[in-house]
């Protein structure tokens, strides 16, 4: 299922901060039929690109155009999960309360996601007491309670152990299978290979290569991507 939001078009997009170019110029048309993984070395602009697409980063040049703009239809999960100083259940209820969702529907949705992420037994505990993996699962679930068409994830498994990473990847695969389009930045090549349907390779603030993941992993067009996939240091 492809969301009516797509294709997403970025034309000549550039972001500068204090005179320094962070990304750009970027031209990209995103019309995914599966998870899109953004890879690249540290500082290549992956996070900024995702933030620009989601609309939470101010651009200096160019334009970002959704086919059917609707900010409530896309959500964002940050690298360091942000949890509200509330209970686990209240964290999940928060985005729904903003939309003035009826209490019964909030209870039902929160209950579903608590079971889904395995935090039902601690639903009344402060979310700040959760482990890193649990916090990230909570952040993903909170992003999903509004049933977004697109979910942006900025290195959601960074700093997590293997077990937590596997749990989150499983959750993401289930979400993707259910029709939510994932656009995720990662520096973990193993994870990129496991999840990617489309690949975007960034280098020095620009999109260096993009296309179907299978093709890009097996036959990269540029030496930079080939070197990056080999694990060489690419700058």
């Amino acid at each position: 299922m492809v969301s009516s939001l797509f294709p997403l078009k970025l034309q000549d997009v550039a972001v500068r901060r204090q005179g320094k170019r962070i990304i750009g110029p970027i031209d990209l048309v995103l019309n995914p039929h599966g998870p899109t993984i953004v890879i690249g070395p540290n500082g290549s602009g992956k996070t900024t690109l995702l933030r620009v697409m989601h609309g939470i980063e101010r651009i200096n040049d160019g334009s970002v155009t959704w086919t059917a703009p609707d900010p409530s239809k896309h959500a964002f999960v940050f690298q360091s999960p942000i949890v509200l100083r509330r209970s686990v259940a209240e964290n999940l209820a928060y985005p729904l309360r903003l939309l003035k969702t009826p209490a019964g529907q909030i209870r039902e949705t929160v209950g579903y996601w608590l079971d889904r992420i395995g935090l039902a037994s601690g639903q009344n505990s402060p979310a700040t007491r959760l482990s890193g993996g649990e916090r990230q699962k909570l952040a993903i679930a909170r992003a999903l309670v509004r049933k977004p068409d697109v979910l942006f994830l900025d290195e959601p498994c960074a700093n997590l152990d293997g077990h937590a990473t596997r749990e989150i990847e499983t959750l993401l695969q289930e979400i993707a299978a259910a029709g939510t389009q994932l656009v995720m930045a990662t520096h973990d090549m193993g994870q990129a290979r496991r999840l990617a349907h489309n690949l975007v390779f960034m280098l020095d603030g620009k999109i260096h290569e993009t296309g179907p993941a299978k093709t890009k992993f097996s036959a990269p067009q540029t030496e930079a991507l080939a070197a990056f996939l080999r694990g060489d240091i690419v700058t």
């Binding site: 989601h54 942000i82 509200l84 100083r85 985005p95």
Partner: protein
């Protein structure tokens, strides 16, 4: 040292004998201070939070002014309020001078910057923590303020208690605008000043201990009611 023991003894007997005048001025102290605290908090907490989340042209100047106003000399506040409320002043027609309302007005002016400044500091930290999430959820300005106030309520309580501490111990401004009139505007601090002036140090100390005890009781009561130290809460 003897004076302190005499003061403690005086405080003890004033309390155990349910001294009517002591109760009257203690309750008036509480009523004036708590009313001022509620009004000042209603102004200062939204103001401090707004300054944390909203960028505007004179924001830094506004914050600097609020911080500077924390050090407002109470006597000057009292004098200004006196002039404004006196018969020849612009609000003289309201006949508020030498009433508890005038004392409340002076206290609100004194403690609003204190609460706003501390509230702004704590809300700024919370806003830094929540910023990306609240922006990504497409929240309105009002929703952001409400979220910060709700989740930062423990810190805001501390801000309010700092305001309470400043107000309950205030004497300069309320002496000027209240006049320390027996059975009308006399409160614990002005009574202490009066007894000290009369040379009755034991009674003045006794009232001082009652004042300290009152401040501690109110702080404990607010902490207990808001369950700040309760396990599993924030």
């Amino acid at each position: 040292m003897v004076d302190i023991w005499e003061g403690l003894s005086a405080a003890f007997w004033l309390i155990v004998h349910f001294d009517a005048e002591l109760w009257e001025i203690s309750l008036r102290s509480l009523r004036v201070t708590l009313t001022a605290l509620v009004i000042a908090s209603a102004i200062a907490i939204p103001l401090g939070t707004y300054l944390a989340v909203q960028r505007f042209r004179y924001r830094r100047f506004t914050i600097s002014m609020i911080n500077a106003l924390m050090g407002l000399p109470p006597v000057v506040v009292g004098l200004v309020v006196y002039i404004l409320l006196s018969r020849s002043g612009p609000f003289g027609v309201l006949n508020l001078l030498f009433t508890p309302t005038a004392m409340i007005i002076a206290q609100v002016i004194i403690i609003t910057p204190v609460i706003a400044s501390i509230a702004h500091q704590s809300m700024r930290e919370l806003w830094a923590e929540y910023h990306d999430l609240l922006i990504s959820l497409n929240t309105s300005k009002w929703q952001r303020i409400l979220t910060l106030v709700r989740d930062g309520r423990r810190n805001l309580l501390t801000a309010a208690l700092a305001g309470f501490g400043r107000a309950i111990g205030e004497v300069g401004a309320i002496m000027i605008v209240g006049g320390n009139i027996d059975h009308v505007t006399r409160v614990l601090t002005t009574a202490i000043a009066l007894e000290t002036g009369k040379g009755d140090f034991a009674l003045a100390l006794g009232l001082g201990f009652v004042l300290i005890g009152l401040a501690i009781v109110v702080n404990l009561a607010i902490h207990t009611l808001s369950r700040t130290e309760r396990e599993g809460q924030w």
